[in-house]
Symmetry: C2
Subunit: 402 residues, 2 copies
């Protein structure tokens, strides 16, 4: 890492210009740092004369959260770029193109997706994305199947796993999702009106058992190479296109964790409708759209995953129909459990979601927060008994009735 | 690996002499190659004048099995020596002392245990080992607890896991234990009188589902650093002392796999009593001794593992009593399933055990083989429902009644 230093805007331009085939030889390049400065520098480098552009993303050696800064391995930039390259091979068109990587500088040069919106903002703005369920189920089915023991040579998978050992970023998840919300931790962060709800989380032993079991899966169950942080802020979207970004949390873990991240963030947005859609029947329509999307993602994921298994399964032992059924049943259960865990942490834990935090009225916000907590806790509690995605849908619907 | 070459006996002597503090400066050293030549060279280097000795073990770059030779990574020698060093730190006195390692030459110089007997032979010779249950339960509890997420810093565990990625040796287990016995594979190897029993294994879908699930655990469940091949041929023993050797299959996998290996080999010996103990009541006593040993190992393992958890558990989330109970229940279930899988493969798969193969009379041997198969299949089928070690004992007892 001897060459490492944070890039200036003019260095970003220099690197951008060295990438063949993007910019015209003549014509000035403009660089603008557009990152939030917490974890990464993100330079948007563009050429007004040609209308072309790209992104230079560089990891910073620390994370700034709630004013504090803690050291974070630059190796996450290597992990991110290797994950992006692998994902774009497995799910072409669903991740940004990578033009160049430099592990010493901890940087990745990639496709500019400014024509897309971050999905979280898109949803807040009232957007609908009819192709999203198809795209994300394709991304999930293909990236997860082909990096699991079902679709990848099992010896090569072990070697690949060795290059995605990601202790720093996994630690964030282990603490912030699977530990702190369930105890009176300093990092917790919630509106004072939620204190009793938070305290209830800290003493619910039924919930604690399920969280311990989900956490154990996150720690030990190396099923496939996960994105690891697949919330709606890691997805660039338009009505026609979906691009999954930022796989710096990638590691080999339980498949349901990635699917659950998508569901949790759709359900957090579902809860936030208390504010974003004021008219009652429009709100109900919006919620049906979100639940319909979840249902369609699961159904499409399941049928695509099964089709890949039937067509590309490399494992003689796994050809048994009853094993495939059992495997998918467990994926659904894990998905439901992780969905719940990822909702609870966004209400009482360190990092929240704009869908809910940006609700200005405290009472409305509290209502949305309690809907999210209620859904989250219920999903965590039923996860090991779940047999159908309808159970998740029913729990979400019940949370906004009466 | 540029320096690698198979050692001669005189080179083994040279290396042995370079180890400080073992041999007297004066006095000839004698080297004798005592390995079986399949996977490793094993030099016994001794000094008659001082009565001192040591072992130089060197990995060969291939495995010779059934006349064929296939390439095998020399990295297994590094894995073996690193596992030995770690085990001797975690379970002092229960593994041979390591004096020296050389990764280029793929060799480990270690304590000579000629005063001990290989446990498989010890049992065949009618030996009893009253301290064995205490020793092996200690070895299992300490090595497995302290390399799991319960007893080891969870970030350090991920890094350690990276240095125990062991594709070649895992492949042997995946194929020979969890695949080939359940299909008409070329590598299978059984007495012709067992053909119908073998065929029945190839078509039993209930069994195939359980094997697929156990195999998935072996492939994905990185619970702790396993020995990986803990049969009675990997244990040196006297009535007073137990030393676990040969951890070249070490990798991060499901804890029950190691415990199951011990139980399977005690039960294979149990089945072989058809021949080794001819007098009926002595045979019954011998079998009770073996079952008592299994029962004591489980009970001691469980109480030691729980005690380590209570005293040295590093994980706040895991402090919940109901989680510990659930974890131990799952360990028992895995143990029972892996015990069964490891019995079946020793009857119809490639590699057998001397306890049974050395029975000269074909009818007696067939009876022992069918007892082992019956126990193995039953254990595999009940594994996910098991709640007590008594269920394993009952199945073993039933197999020799009537």
């Amino acid at each position: 890492m001897s060459n490492y230093h944070p890039l200036t805007e003019s260095e970003a331009i220099q690197i951008a210009r060295s990438i063949a085939g993007i910019f015209e030889t003549q014509g000035e390049l403009i660089s603008r740092e557009i990152g939030d400065g917490n974890l990464n520098l993100v330079f948007h480098v563009s050429q007004p004369s040609s209308g072309r552009s790209l992104i230079v993303k560089q990891a910073l050696p620390y994370a700034k959260v709630v004013g504090e800064s803690w050291p974070l391995s630059l190796d996450r930039a290597r992990i991110e770029s290797e994950a992006l390259l692998l994902e774009s091979r497995l799910a072409p068109g669903l991740v940004p193109l990578v033009y160049h990587t430099d592990h010493d500088l901890a940087l990745t040069v990639m496709e500019d997706l400014s024509s897309h919106k971050i999905m979280r903002q898109g949803l807040i703005d009232g957007g609908t994305y009819p192709l999203f369920a198809g795209h994300i189920s394709e991304f999930l089915a293909r990236t997860l199947f082909f990096t699991s023991d079902l679709g990848m040579n099992q010896q090569e998978k072990k070697t690949l796993l060795g290059s995605f050992i990601n202790p720093d970023l996994c630690k964030i998840t282990e603490d912030l999702i699977f530990d702190h919300p369930y105890t009176d931790a300093d990092t917790n962060n919630f509106d004072e009106h939620l204190r009793d709800d938070a305290k209830q989380l800290w003493t619910d032993e039924t919930l604690h058992l399920e969280i311990a079991l989900l956490r154990e899966k996150f720690l030990t169950h190396a099923q496939a190479l996960l994105h690891g942080d697949l919330h709606t802020g890691s997805i660039f979207i338009t009505p026609e296109s979906t691009k999954v970004i930022d796989p710096e949390f990638a590691y080999f873990g339980p498949i349901g964790f990635d699917i659950g991240a998508v569901f949790a963030n759709l359900l957090l947005h579902f809860a936030s409708q208390e504010h974003w859609t004021t008219e009652t029947s429009a709100r109900s329509d919006r919620r049906q759209y979100l639940l319909g999307t979840i249902s369609e993602i699961w159904t499409s994921f399941e049928s695509k995953f099964r089709a890949l298994w039937d067509e590309h399964g490399i494992d003689r032992v796994a050809k048994l129909k009853s094993y495939q059924d059992d495997y998918l049943k467990r994926l659904l259960q894990d998905t439901i459990g992780f969905t719940g865990a990822k909702m609870v942490r966004r209400i009482v834990g360190l990092a929240h979601v704009a869908d809910i935090d940006r609700i200005p009225d405290a009472d409305v916000r509290a209502k949305a927060q309690r809907i999210a907590l209620e859904i989250g806790k219920s999903l965590i509690k039923i996860n090991r008994q779940a047999i159908s995605i309808e159970q998740l849908i029913d729990i979400a619907e019940a949370s906004v009735q009466g």
